[in-house]
Amino acid sequence: MELFNSESKKIINDPINVNNPISLQVLGICSALAVTIRLDQAIIMTLAVIFVLCSSNVILSLIRDYIPSRVRIVIMLSVIASLVSVVDELLQAYLYDMSKQLSVFVGLIITNCIIMGRAEAFALKNGPSKAFLDGLGNGLGYGMIIIIVSFFRELFGAGTITLPDGGAGYVLFSIPEAWYAAGYENIGLLVLSPGAFFILGLVIWTQREIFGIEEGE
């Protein structure tokens, strides 16, 4: 199979644009609210989710003919849970500060509906290479949204932009003191979870407007 024919492109592009798991299927909202306070958290979380999503899709796709459909949920969960444990251990070993900040939300990747959803809807019906591309596409779609949300939340909520650097984070930009002295204030609402809802809602609005998607009944 050719790797980059039009079908593969569609598998990758659709979840980023017209069929985005967060903004159009409205899955995985919980982590989109929880880990988007800072940009570096969102970036690490995106990488973790892409890794789990791609690996679980490939593994489940490889063993799809041997899974009895009655117990498939249990098998899917055990595969995903093992992969999440691997990610969790890796983070604790190499990015300890980040692992502390993300705390329980790394473990909660197991319950992210996107991963179960893709395994159920795609990996169990398609070959491993397609399943890998699907996992990559959905992971990127998820990552794009939470990175946009966390960018605005951190910039306007805390007044900084932080990139991951293995330690406590590298502050790329912070709003100068002179602005605060002139009367500028951070929007405290954005640090709270409702703030993420507002940003997420605006992102969904913009994306549906761009692709001309109407709510269907």
Binding site: G183, E185, I187, G188, L189, L190, L192, P194, F198, W205
Partner: protein, 391 residues
Amino acid sequence: MNFLKKILAESGKLFEEGKPLSFAYPLWEATDTILLSTNSQNKSGPHIRDNMDIKRTMFFVVIALIPCYLFGAYNIGYLHSAAMGVPSSILSDFILGMTYVLPILIVTFIAGAICEITFAVIRKHEINEGFLVSCALIPLTMPPDIPLWQLFMGTCFGIIIGKEIFGGVGTNVFNPALTARAFMYFAFPTKISGEKVWAVGPDGYTGATALSIPANPTEYDTATNLFNQVTQFDFSTLNLFWGLIPGSIGETNKLLILLGGLFLIYCGIASWRIMIASVLGLVFTAGLFNLLADYSTNAMLTITPLQHILIGSFLFGTVFMASEPVTSTHTNKGRWIYGFMIGLLTVIIRSVNPAYPEGVMLAILIMNMFAPLIDYYIVKSNINMRLSRNA
């Protein structure tokens, strides 16, 4: 008038379909209908022969708010000269207050107009006068020293998130003015949370509002004692009514609010059931808390129902926000329940949660959310009752 008509008719041709300015047709239409009366007639039912169209309704609300503006401006000046300890006249107080109120008013209207016109042009509908009322209400709920850029953001948020995304005037779930205030309340808590004094004074001039005193008791155990200990402001019951106290611009004078409420009831715009029910709800809950006060160390529980009505912006919220026809309940039974719950929630939020000194705003927003549900079950129970009667 003929002169005006001619100008508008001539200029109107430029805005017709296919002409260069056709994108701005809503702007021309708004100018036309504000200056002259509307020519359009309903082609389909219901045909109501009444001049009380949405434009006039909104205008009456604005008229009812004007006294609150005038007193608010005077109050700002009065408190300022009292704090500075300089003698002043009513006129000079008023003029000083106006220098604070006018910028707030202008910024709110500019922000509201930008949002409303943008959406009218994109959605190709006429500019709706509803935003005038929202923009007239927002400044009255603001402290006089609010930074104008925060006000601009809050107003845009209130008009867009509170109203336009639900489809515009008449289809909004939440009161846009309160949405704007709630946004600013959570976004910029240092300026607007209600703990610090909202009077304009010399640098470093601080004090407590009537709401925050019982929430931070020191050695005095009851609210009445606490009120009496304040020497900076006069928090006697009579003065709480007359409103020469710090607070949001429009909320302090209770007499003018009551007069505005009577005017709206007389015009048939606001619902008297909601107003009475919310006062009943507040009196009931505050009375209940008074009975429980002996078993608690919370000084807020000792505030009497009368004090609860007079401190903070309960009356303002009830008269101008809760009874608004769009976001409240539409059945008479529902109005009683809705109003009662607003009064009840106000006292609970004020008394039990020290993080939020004022509860009216949150109480009204919460009940806005439940209003359609209340109506739904009242209509449904009526249908069931009539079905069983004829079964």
